[in-house]
């Protein structure tokens, strides 16, 4: 299983990357999640500018046979969507940790990052 150790993870199978300035995070779903879902055909995201609490749904990912909600790993405001997913949702399958990212979020409370799992902890959870 591909699990970069510079990312943080949630029990809902999202990954989180803190940007260099420490204000925003990039969020996507894990390799395990995309593999469980199968061919992803549609990623529906809540609008840029909307604010969500940790654990609230920020969108839905649809595979051919399955639908899954996407949950905020941390509280914050959506500041950017991955526009490429509009026409190439399969990027989530192919490159879940790079081109397949989903949203960028302006953090409300950086201490929530402490709630997230390390690659090692996440690996133990899904194994």
């Amino acid at each position: 299983m591909n699990l970069p150790d510079f990312l943080s993870y949630t029990s809902d199978h999202e990954w989180v990357r803190l940007d260099d300035e420490g204000h925003n995070v990039t969020i996507g779903i894990t390799d395990f999640a995309q593999s469980e879902l199968g061919d992803i055909v549609f990623v529906e995201l809540e609008p840029v500018g909307d604010m969500f609490e940790q654990g609230e749904a920020f969108g839905v990912v649809e595979a051919v046979k399955a639908v899954s909600d996407l949950f905020m790993p941390v509280s914050g405001t959506i500041v950017e969507h991955n526009e490429m997913l509009e026409n190439q949702p399969e990027l989530v399958n192919v490159e879940p940790y790079s081109d397949g990212w989903m949203i960028k979020v302006a953090l409300k409370d950086t201490s929530e990052l402490d709630d997230l799992m390390s690659a090692e902890e996440y690996a133990a959870m899904v194994s």
Partner: protein, 371 residues
């Protein structure tokens, strides 16, 4: 404890995603539903559908019993022919959909849904006043479906059986030992994908040999092993009913557009009187194909409305069509204002949002070009 087919280890070594289906641990997908689906539409796919049930009806009364149990006219079958039919209860509700293969005038094979096999057999026994012999042979028979435009070419490379000469809904029974060492086999031009293809019934022990032989020629011919996921998207594009979704004991054949396999004039059979009465009544609702106009993937139980927001019905099966790259569905729609006709505009509620859709006649992946 889930049952395993003879090919279980092969599925695992191919990296299949396995899932419980009708009491079996079955492959849902290997590479991915889309790739497997397109392989079947454009080249070929190989499915292990050994979970399906086989019930043999034998003896002098076999034909009369089958004719009494099912809605289609089995008396028209000759040796080596198959037909698609329904088995209904006395109220005309659908107990199962099945294929009937006539081996001899005293031997028929009924291929039923895995989840229904036990109930079907009990129903058949309860209505077996003629005392035909009934055998559930499901555990001893493996079933491989080789489907797609190249399926016959693939099989022709592997056997001397003239597979290209078998007409649709016909089958051949190779001589003992002449087909992958099988004592008994049935090679039938039947399927559930909307493509040409074969369904091959062999004794359980021979399934591995047959699977391996077909897989060996897969690369030059573009064949992929395909799971139940692709089987479902393929049948849904083709507009075929799935028992438990489109049809069940609370639906009747006419609203499911299965009147063509319901032969009210063939003579007495279980459910005929009720079905005759239903047939005389105007239909309240009809099973329709839907193609989403834009985004949104309809799923089972999604509600359907007219464009004014009045309820029309519900989705029985929905998915993303790999061919159309759009959401598609089968749905029961109230028969009013021409809304069950191809081209009619309706709305589907997908997770609280209304998405426009167009009523379409299956096969949904082959729509006539509109000028």
């Amino acid at each position: 404890m889930l049952k395993k087919t003879q090919l279980y280890d092969r599925h695992l070594s191919l990296g299949a995603h396995m899932s419980a289906f009708a009491g079996f641990d079955m492959p849902v997908r290997y590479q991915g539903i889309r790739a497997e689906h397109m392989a079947v539409r454009e080249a070929a796919g190989l499915f292990d559908v050994s979970h399906m049930g086989q019930i043999f009806v034998m003896g002098d009364e076999a034909g009369a019993l089958v004719q009494h149990l099912v809605t289609n006219d089995v008396s028209k079958l000759k040796d080596g022919q198959a037909l698609y039919t329904l088995m209904c209860n006395h109220d005309g509700g659908i107990l199962d959909d099945l294929l009937v293969y006539r081996l001899r005038d005293y031997a028929y094979m009924l291929v039923v849904n895995a989840a229904n096999t036990k109930e079907d057999l009990a129903w058949m026994q309860a209505n077996n006043e003629r005392e035909a012999m009934l055998h559930d042979t499901s555990e001893h028979i493996a079933l491989l479906a080789l489907q797609g435009p190249r399926s016959l070419d693939i099989m022709a490379r592997l056997t001397d059986i003239p597979v290209h000469d078998i007409p649709p809904y016909h089958f051949v029974r190779p001589a003992p030992g002449a087909f992958f060492g099988c004592e008994k086999a049935i090679v039938a031009r039947t399927g559930y994908t909307g493509e040409i293809g074969l369904e091959i019934y062999v004794e359980r022990e021979a399934a591995g040999r047959l699977w391996d032989a077909i897989m060996q020629v897969r690369t030059p011919l573009g064949l992929l092993p395909a799971g139940l996921g692709a089987r479902d998207t393929l049948r849904l594009e083709a507009g075929y009913c799935l028992y438990g979704n489109e049809i069940d004991q609370n639906t009747h054949p006419f609203e499911a557009r299965l009147g063509w396999i319901t032969k009210l004039n063939k003579g007495p059979f279980i459910g005929r009187d009720a079905l005759h009465a239903i047939e005389q009544q105007p239909r309240d609702r009809l099973l329709c194909g839907l193609i989403m106009n834009g985004r949104g993937i309809p799923r089972r139980s999604c509600r359907v409305f007219d464009t004014a927001g009045k309820p029309l019905g519900h989705v029985t099966s929905g998915t993303h069509s790999p061919v159309l790259r759009k959401g598609i569905a089968l749905a029961y729609i109230e028969r009013r204002d021409g809304l069950t006709r191809p081209g009619a505009q309706v709305m589907v509620d997908v997770r609280g949002r209304a998405h426009p859709a167009t009523v379409a006649r299956p096969p949904l992946h082959k729509q006539p070009k509109v000028q």
